[in-house]
């Protein structure tokens, strides 16, 4: 019995000693992996922000919006330093981890976190740059600068709706199936459609299947919002 107790104790001591030595490198590896992973994420985010700023800068040049471009330049200038430091910190962390200098790597990661935070702040601030709205091509000028307070964005906010046009168009037996309706860009109660003074038309004719889609498209924000004034 005594022999058994002594054997068990020795086995426990041996297990304790060997387990400790084997687990120590595993913890260190896990920490190193975690540092590397976070460093890669932070560096990637900084690169992403750099790409976004680059695209916005190109848009400003394309739209010949001098005011916007000048404002963006001040942020982009600052950001260049941040981006460079972040890239350096990222590669240094990798080297330190490979050299097994985990504590040094941790310090560099703290620096990289600060740089990434700074990059996010730069992006946010760059979005406050005021635009002159000088772009006059068809795609943007009308969509993004429409005075929706007055014109509305949906059919039920139109003058036609106020005049009761299309009120009962969903009634299939009550609509005029010989008419294919347009978009009625004038939105003026049908006044524009006749050469004489006429009453408002009671119905727009057909069930405007595709017009519903246009409303949906307008609702979804592919419209470039005007940046708020700085």
């Amino acid at each position: 019995m005594k022999k058994l107790i002594v054997f068990m104790m020795l086995f426990g001591v041996v297990q304790f000693i060997f387990a400790k030595t084997e687990n120590e490198p595993a913890d260190t590896r896990s920490e190193a992996d975690s540092i590397l992973k976070e460093a890669a994420q932070k560096a990637a985010r900084v690169s992403e922000i750099e790409a976004v700023l680059d695209k916005v800068n190109k848009d400003a040049v394309k739209e010949k919006d001098v005011k916007w471009k000048v404002c963006l330049d001040s942020f982009i200038g600052t950001f260049k330093g941040v981006s460079l430091s972040a890239v350096k910190a990222g590669s240094k962390i990798e080297e330190l981890v490979l050299a097994g200098q985990i504590d040094e790597a941790k310090n560099q990661l703290i620096l990289l976190r600060g740089l990434a935070e700074s990059a996010e702040k730069t992006l946010t601030e760059s979005q406050t740059c005021e635009r002159q709205l000088t772009r006059v091509d068809a795609q943007s000028s009308v969509i993004k600068e429409v005075n929706t307070k007055i014109t509305g964005t949906l059919s039920n906010e139109s003058v036609n709706d106020a005049m009761g046009i299309g009120f009962s168009r969903e009634f299939v037996a009550d609509t005029d199936k010989s008419v294919v309706s347009g978009s009625d860009l004038a939105d003026a109660g049908g006044v524009d459609s006749s050469d004489v003074n006429v009453e408002s038309p009671g119905s727009q004719g057909e069930n405007p299947v595709s017009e519903t889609e246009i409303e949906d498209i307008i609702d979804t924000p592919d419209i470039i919002d005007v940046s708020p004034t700085k």
Partner: protein, 436 residues
């Protein structure tokens, strides 16, 4: 009776299958050909009873014998197709609607069966660069109709009308200001003019142009200005040089929402008819729209305008109108349309009688007509693409216009036709419509 039973069973079956989902899908009808192209196909069957199929006056006589009126039952078979490509920048659409009128000849087979014919309506539209500051559009509408609009020639005549318009619009960045210039041509032809020369006086070609502007200065509210001219030439008329005319209309107004329940339109302007004589006039439209929620709409108003006329140079219309619509339970629509029009015709042009042609006498003086229209109806959406409509139409016209024609027949005898243009016509229609 059998047909009614079949219809009743069909309707009952469909009612059983109505679901909330079907009703919500009401805007999704149509076959999607591409992402932005939708094809709608329709078919409707409409039995109609009409009390006066030729819209004839009871006073009309041939050699002193009253002709009388003829009633009949008509079956309308109406297939239709609409196809539309619609995206952010352009819309191109085409529609064709065929309506074969099958007169059953219940009262007088000879008088009514020959009226069985095909009516056609077709439209082609295009709108381009819709989101741009400058946009362009065109439309072409063609119709072959046995009951043409127009107030000169009441009755039933086979009329072909084509209307083509080109437009160029400009709008500001905010889309609050819009200006549009349009030019077009109308071509009107009565098929009867092939055999009966009197109808040639009504065939015309019109060149139309206008400029329109509007400014939205408040939500749902706009002020507008329009100036339009029309040059109408009755190109085959025996009185062509006197009947051709050029009406010009200029009017401005304001329309829009006053409160969430009340909207209004006020517009007025100047009209002039330049024909054999020159007539200065005014035009006006005052309209009040009352809306209660999404289910009740009441529109009433007064309208005055002036249009060209082949024998009277022009006619002015005073019209009082009222339209009421009430939706019930999302699937029922009750409607009542009422209008009263007072038509004042201009100075009459008296044609010179050519040697050997029928002697036509048209009473002189001022011609004044009154027209009363009443149209209550009840529509029922069984499904979003299948509906029924039961309606009644009353058209009552009084006119001091009559036409006395004394013609020599091939056997050297003469025939005197005295035509009056006042009539009353009742219609009852049941429209069964499928439109997907």
């Amino acid at each position: 009776m059998t047909a009614f039973s079949v219809f009743f069973i069909l309707a009952s079956f469909c009612v059983q299958n109505v679901s909330a989902e079907d009703q919500q899908d009401e805007k999704k009808n149509g076959f999607r050909i591409t992402k932005d192209t939708v094809l709608n196909v329709g078919l409707s069957l409409t039995p109609e009873y009409e009390s006066n199929i030729t819209k004839a006056s009871e006073k009309t006589t041939i050699d002193g014998v009253k002709v009388g009126t003829v009633s009949d039952m008509i079956l309308h078979y109406s297939p239709s197709i609409r196809i539309k490509l619609d995206d952010m920048n352009k819309t191109v659409g085409f529609s064709v609607f065929l309506d074969y009128n099958h007169y059953l000849g219940l009262q007088d087979k000879d008088a009514s069966k020959k009226l069985s014919d095909l009516d056609i309506k077709s439209g082609l539209i295009g709108e381009f660069n819709k989101k741009g500051r400058a946009f362009f559009d065109f439309s072409n509408h063609f119709s072959r109709n046995a009951s043409p609009d127009g107030q000169d020639l009441s009755g039933r005549h086979k009329n072909i009308l084509d209307n083509f318009v080109l437009g160029l619009g400009l709008k500001n960045i905010e889309d609050t200001l819009l200006m549009k210039v349009q030019a077009g041509v109308d071509f009107n032809y009565y098929e009867e003019s092939k055999d009966q020369s009197a109808y040639k006086d009504y065939n015309y070609v019109s060149f139309v142009g206008d400029i329109f502007g509007r400014w939205k200065f408040l939500p749902k509210t706009t002020v507008f200005l329009k100036a339009a001219y029309r040059y109408q030439d009755y190109y085959e008329s025996s009185i062509r040089s006197d009947s051709r005319s050029m009406p010009v209309n200029i009017f401005a107004g304001i329309m829009g929402q006053i409160t969430p329940h009340l909207s209004a339109k006020l517009s007025a302007g100047y009209s002039v008819s330049i024909s054999k004589d020159i007539r200065h006039d005014y035009n006006a439209n005052a309209e009040l729209v009352f809306k209660y929620g999404k289910n009740t709409l009441l529109t009433s108003g007064y309208l005055r305008n002036m249009r060209p006329s082949p024998y009277y140079q022009h006619y002015s219309t005073h019209r009082l109108y009222l339209n009421f619509k009430q939706k019930m339970a999302r699937v029922l629509l009750a409607k009542l349309d009422f209008s009263y029009s007072f038509l004042e015709f201009g100075p009459q042009i008296i044609p010179d009688a050519a040697p050997g042609s029928p002697v036509v006498t048209i009473p002189g003086g001022v011609r004044e007509d009154q027209l009363l229209m009443l149209n209550p109806s009840l529509s029922y959406n069984i499904l979003s693409w299948f509906g029924l409509k039961l309606s009644y139409e009353l058209e009552y016209r009084t006119s001091d216009y009559d036409r006395l024609v004394v013609e020599t027949l091939p056997d050297a005898t003469t025939r005197t036709v005295h035509t009056y243009y006042d009539f009353i016509d009742h219609k009852v229609l049941l429209n069964i419509a499928l439109d997907y």
